[in-house]
């Protein structure tokens, strides 16, 4: 079971990030979320979603999914995403296991860009 992200449906509203922060802190604080829309390339309108999982960092990009295994050496030719580094320090997604409603990012995504997948 895991989180599945449709990056093209995402509108970068950040509801998922905020909901995740509540799960972590019982308050709203955007620095603790394990799911984050990356929106640093504003002038290019290039945005998607990054998810920190236990063993991997998932970048749901408009052109497709990119999964980077944490701890494995990355392609040195490839420029690192500036959003990725702080994400590695955050707690991994636990699918909001203590929440009756299930993962809050799914609950609060207004455009159904996030769903549960049977795949790990």
């Amino acid at each position: 079971m895991g989180i599945k992200i449709d990056a093209l449906a995402c509108t970068a509203c950040m509801a998922c990030e905020l909901a995740c922060s509540y799960h972590r802190d019982d308050a709203f604080a955007l620095l603790s979320s394990c799911i984050v829309p990356y929106r640093a390339l504003e002038k290019k309108n290039y945005f998607g979603v990054i998810l920190k999982e236990e063993d991997s960092l998932v970048a749901a990009r408009p052109e497709g999914l990119e999964i980077n295994r944490i701890g494995e050496e990355q392609d040195p030719e490839k420029e690192a995403d500036a959003s990725a580094k702080p994400m590695l320090l955050r707690e991994a997604c636990d699918l909001c296991e203590d929440m009756d409603q299930g993962p809050l990012c799914i609950l609060f995504c207004p455009v159904d860009a996030i769903s549960l997948s049977d795949e790990d």
Partner: protein
């Protein structure tokens, strides 16, 4: 103020370069709720010093659907009346988390400056290197300087520096709802821009109940009239305006929402790139985020193609000009060619029609609402921090629901009678 607050007001005197910090008194929130209720109270307190008051709504930055809005209150250099300008996209939210609830900017600086607001700190910085730059270059400069591309910038271009009545305060690279000429007020104060970054924390009095109520509400309304719709043209149609989807859609790359706003009211068009491109564009500036439907419709009304209209809007945003006013003046002068309009922008003069009653920006215009009801709805949106367009397309977000959520979040008792009083104070 313990909940939904950083408990801090900054009072910045640009004349003396002194900054005073005050606590946010709970009584001020009980009496004025938040957002425009409090910016109006603070404006009146400092009225003799020509203040600009910036503040977030009570519920801004929370899980309440549409909680994107901050507000800028000041006397319009154009109308001479107090005006409230919506601060949308992600800038409204960043202010809420910046460590300050309200910012009062009074006086004027003897030299160009910018404000850097972050982590509960306000700095007045020299803007000598920024003065003369367009809004795009200035935003890039600030983000490069601070090493953070998520910094939100409320800034002016050359139009504001020159004190043009057509000047507007832009949000990052894009247009804003400033139709009151506050860009000229920034210029008069020698204030190039306000850079904001929010990495704070908001406590909630009853977090479990608050979040549950937000989720239930989103679930209730997600099948509303706006559901499944996206982008500026469909937002325009929802509000009773012309549906210009067929005209604009061929250029649209993707739609983008303001913070936690279920309806994406902005559309990014590609002007120098294939709109179907999924990968990151190799071009640094492939297009423009269209977030001002009034300007868009007015430029279309001049007979421009969608591409030309968006190019004009991009040029307006770079120079910090109100695109809606520009379109009206060009129409009066018979200017209907994009190149001629763009070439004329640096020296464009003239006056546009008054912005409705002038209190709230007609940027969030709606043909479906009677003017009195529209004004009340805008007041409510600006008090609680709800996106002004979402507030119009989602009437299910009632005053009662917002009061209930506010009480849950703050442990303060807010009533309909109290809200009526705040609205009366704001609308006069």
């Amino acid at each position: 103020m313990e909940y939904l607050s950083s408990d801090k007001i900054a009072i910045i005197d640009l004349t003396s370069s002194k900054i005073i910090e005050e606590d946010l008194p709970e009584e001020l929130v009980e009496e004025n709720v938040g957002g425009v209720g409090i910016t109006t109270a603070l404006y009146k307190r400092f009225e003799g010093e020509d203040p600009i008051v910036l503040g977030a709504g009570l519920l801004t930055g929370t899980l309440v659907p549409g909680a994107a809005l901050s507000v800028m209150t000041a006397k319009s250099p154009v109308s001479g009346k107090i005006s409230h300008i919506p601060v949308t996209l992600h800038a409204g939210m960043e202010l809420k988390y910046s460590g300050f609830d309200y910012i009062v900017i009074k006086g004027s600086s003897s030299k160009p400056v910018f404000l850097w607001i972050h982590d509960g700190i306000v700095d007045i910085e020299d803007a000598g290197d920024l003065w003369g730059k367009d809004t795009w270059a200035a935003t890039d400069h600030i983000r490069d300087l601070m090493g953070d591309n998520l910094i939100q910038v409320l800034g002016i271009g050359k139009a504001g520096e020159k004190g043009s009545d057509l000047a507007q305060v832009c949000i990052n690279y894009w247009a804003s709802g400033d139709r009151a000429g506050l860009g000229a007020l920034f210029g008069r104060k020698n204030l190039k821009l306000i850079a904001i970054r929010g990495m704070g924390l908001l406590e909630i009095a009853d977090p479990e109940e608050f979040v549950e109520t937000c989720a239930e509400f989103l679930d209730d309304v997600r099948e509303g009239e706006w559901a499944g719709k996206s982008g500026i043209t469909r937002t325009s149609a929802l509000l009773g305006g012309e549906d210009i989807s067929a005209w604009l859609d061929p250029l649209v790359h993707r739609h983008m929402a303001c913070f936690n706003t279920p309806l994406a009211t902005n559309s990014f068009v590609f002007l120098d790139e294939d709109p179907g491109l999924l990968k990151e564009s190799a071009s640094e500036e492939p297009g423009f985020l269209v977030n001002d439907m009034g300007a868009l419709l007015a430029l279309k009304g001049l007979g421009l193609s969608a591409s030309d209209a968006c190019s004009v809007m991009k040029a307006c945003a770079k120079q910090g000009l109100n695109g809606s006013a520009v379109a009206e003046i060009c129409g009066k002068n018979g200017m209907t060619e994009a190149k001629k309009i763009i070439d004329a922008l640096p020296d464009l003069k003239g006056s546009a029609s008054p912005d409705g009653a002038g209190l709230f920006s007609s940027w969030a215009a709606s043909l479906k609402w009677e003017s009195k009801e529209w004004e009340r709805r805008q007041a409510v949106a600006y008090i609680f921090g709800i996106h002004p367009l979402f507030a119009l397309v989602c009437p299910e977000l009632t005053e009662e629901k917002l009061l209930e959520l506010s009480s849950l979040a703050t442990d303060l008792e807010f009533t309909s009678e109290g809200l009526d009083d705040v609205i009366a104070q704001v609308t006069g």
